[in-house]
Symmetry: C2
Subunit: 162 residues, 2 copies
């Protein structure tokens, strides 16, 4: 049995206990942008329930153009007002450089990605960079509450970046 | 108190019960790409525990260039082998068109986004489009298990798209 098949078995148990449907707009009017890291369970770490928050995730929790797209849809069409950014300790994005990663792909398949890998060398600096990208985006109307955190994978605690 | 402050209070409770740290690579060697929708609790719906799977999310659960970036990092640097794609019923992406959304932004702030909003008109067709984008990407080495699902927000059940 594949891992995917096992996850589908788990889903049958989830659906058996499920009560829905809930409204489409997030009840807490908040959007979270976090790293895809497996150890960062956003619903658990923030005590979120179903229907409460948009959760956007990518490698690094970086404010990419696609994250701006998702946040623009979240704010403009679905009424979210606060943004929570989450990076985390022991992040894989600290372990390589864009140049190395793209060169390794080029050597493997002959094609160099036209995109940035968005690796970073300093967690807190990248949280600040993410906040700056949001603040300077013309597409996001609500920037009164944009706060950034580092999740500690050893303690489960969120530490705010000032 | 802001919503973000309330989430931080929740986090204190989570951290108090937390046992870590876990290894960096996902234990189940799987990456999930899902819509950001608030009603889709990926950890709950798939029965995932901390440390088991990469979770990538954006508006629509669309295979964008940024999703390819995240999946490439997931497979090439952190050893994931299976990909699970999740769209869902009652998705906001079914309610507008790219042209309308971008025009509304242009009318609001004077700048038209250079990116696609990635709205879609047919859920299952977009799941298939997402699978096709993965299959044709030169950057992803492992494509033996790429499966797509529609999460039903009324029942909590995942239905596979064939």
């Amino acid at each position: 049995m594949s891992v995917t098949d096992g996850l589908l078995e788990n889903n049958a148990g989830y659906a058996a206990e499920f009560s829905g449907p809930l409204p489409l707009p997030p009840a807490k009017h908040v959007a979270v942008l976090a790293c895809m890291d497996a150890r960062l369970n956003v619903y658990g770490a923030l005590g979120l329930g179903e229907g409460e928050a948009h959760v956007i995730r990518n490698a690094g929790g970086v404010v990419t153009e696609d994250a701006i797209r998702s946040l623009a849809i979240s704010q403009r069409l679905l009424g979210t007002e606060e943004i929570v950014l989450i990076h985390h300790t022991d992040c894989g994005m600290l372990t390589f450089t864009d140049d190395e990663f793209k060169k390794s792909i080029q050597e493997d398949v002959g094609v160099k990605p036209a995109w940035a890998a968005e690796a970073f060398g300093d967690l807190e600096a990248d949280v600040r960079q993410s906040i700056a990208r949001i603040r300077t985006s013309p597409f996001l109307p609500r920037k009164d509450s944009v706060r950034g955190f580092v999740f500690d994978v050893a303690t489960g605690k969120l530490n705010e970046v000032s």
